[in-house]
């Protein structure tokens, strides 16, 4: 019995504890990301934003959550019930499990696996299922159109995301995410991060993650002017809330991936004492917050893309360019004998 406790139960409990340590702050972050978005957009549009519930509207996300929780779950008569309810769960779960391999600080990672980069790529490519299944199971025109758009869009932009990840891997010489962060450590601090030598890829990656998370200006799957609310038209109550949470958790996740690949993860921007006193996880959070600000900034600024232009950008601009850049980077590394061992 004691053996059973030592070998199986205790490690299992520790892992569950670690998972809760990641998931609970993440959900709080998602709740406050919605407030952050509304406040930032309000300031950009000379409004006040939510300011009634709690001081400065700080309790607004909780009020929203409670409201959604007490609404009625409506399942349309013609819908495929199992898949209809499965789809939001898939979206939500996929946006959580990717966090298993994200390193928050040196050694602060749930699963430090060797193929971390590939794992993230695999999980982000699965995100399309929640949306496409939701659209089909709703058995309704607008959700179906939204789902088809989303499937085509996410598959297209994944290709260039893949090539961007390959370039970073070529430079870092490892698929391990902690290893990728450590490869950006150096005397120059901020200038050692991969976004300096790979600046064009950084831009491509950022635009692609906007498309991958279905955010403005690529939010065609839920374009409210044309498709009511796209794939989530028929959803209400907690099913809708799960889509919402999943979408925002995905935004944070993609910003975290971008931080790890290009912005040096938990590393401080310079090796000065003031900066190194601040723990790495705070740096990681600050970088994610900056990227999320850009997400919101883009939403408040740019008009929506037309669908054919979206496809043109993905296949005719990003794909050839990122493919070329992979070849150029590989050639550079081999020619100057800088291939990481």
């Amino acid at each position: 019995m004691v053996e059973f406790w030592d070998i199986y139960l205790l490690p299992a409990l520790i892992i569950v504890g670690k998972i809760l340590l990641i998931v609970v702050p993440l959900l709080v972050a998602v709740a406050y990301l919605t407030l952050y978005e509304r406040k930032v957009m309000a300031v950009m549009q000379l409004r006040k934003g939510p300011n009634v519930v709690g001081p400065f509207g700080l309790l607004q996300p909780i009020a929203d959550g409670v409201k959604l929780f007490f609404k009625e779950t409506v399942v349309p008569t013609g819908a495929n019930k199992v898949l209809f309810l499965l789809a939001p769960m898939v979206t939500f779960i996929l946006s959580l499990i990717a966090w298993a391999v994200i390193p928050f600080d040196e050694g602060m990672v749930l699963a430090n696996i060797n193929v971390g980069g590939l794992y993230l790529f695999a999980i982000s490519s699965l995100g399309v299922y929640g949306i496409i299944v939701a659209g089909w199971a709703s058995n309704s025109r607008y959700p179906f159109l939204g789902a088809l758009r989303s499937a085509a869009q996410m598959v297209s932009y994944e290709v260039s995301i893949g090539f961007v990840i390959v370039t970073v891997l070529l430079c870092a010489g490892t698929l391990n995410l902690s290893g990728i962060v450590m490869s950006q450590k150096g005397d120059l601090g901020l200038l050692n991060w991969w976004f300096v030598p790979l600046f064009p890829m950084f831009i491509i990656f950022f635009v692609s993650i906007l498309a991958e998370t279905n955010r403005h200006p690529f939010d065609l799957p839920e374009a409210e002017a044309e498709l009511v609310a796209g794939y989530q038209t028929e959803y209400s109550s907690m099913a809708f809330a799960l889509f919402f949470l999943g979408e925002y958790a995905n935004m944070i996740l993609m910003s975290a991936i971008c931080t790890i690949l290009f912005l040096g993860g938990w590393l401080p921007p310079a090796d000065w004492a003031i900066f190194t006193w601040i723990p790495g996880i705070i740096w990681f959070g600050i970088k994610i917050a900056v990227l999320l600000f850009v997400f919101i900034w883009v939403r408040a600024t740019l008009p929506r893309y037309r669908y054919d232009q979206l496809m043109r950008l993905g296949w005719k601009v990003f794909l050839p360019f990122s493919l070329l850049w992979v070849v150029v980077t590989a050639g550079f590394l081999v020619y100057f004998d800088k291939v990481p061992a």
Binding site: Y8, L83, I113, N114, V115, L118, Y119, F121, A122, S125, L126, V128, Y129, I132, V133, W136, F144, A147, L148, A151, A152, V155, E158, G162, L175, D308, Q309, R312
Partner: protein, 204 residues
Amino acid sequence: MIISTIAFYLFAALTIASAFMVISAKNPVHSVLYLILAFFNSAALFVLLGAEFLAMILIVVYVGAVAVLFLFVVMMLDINFAELRQGFLQYLPIGGLVGIILLIELILVVSGWVLTPDAIKIGMETAPLVSNLTNTEQLGQVIYTQYAYLFQIAGMILLVAMIGAIVLTNRKRPGVRKQNIARQVYRRPEESMAVRKVEPGQGV
């Protein structure tokens, strides 16, 4: 480890069960979803074998891309499910015959499989362990160093197949209004705009 044994049997059973559901599900969309479940469980089996790179590639390529396109096509099919059920008994004899022939062939092939003594001897020896390399690096060394040319040829064949498919299906339709981005960008106000003084009550 008892846990990994239990995990193996769980994933293996799920793989077989979902593979069976792929062919027996009435609704083709459900079939594709079961196919995805089967891919997932096979990926889990790869992880149990220690081949994490293959597991991830299986998910990225098959679940992330191929199955999405399957689903995409299958969802747009216009199928009458009642009609689909009617044909089942009608085609059962032919389908069953084909299945039985395939089964017999498989049994004949597997039972007739003879290994030479040398091959058995090689199989008995343990492979040299290169423990300090991850299996991503090992695969890379085999594919990109040892079999680099074959790998390139395989890639070229796939590329040719892709271009062939595009050429065969691409139709040039006259009269399609396409957006020419370069022309739009290079358009100057002088070419496309004219400012006229319009007399009141006369029009242009």
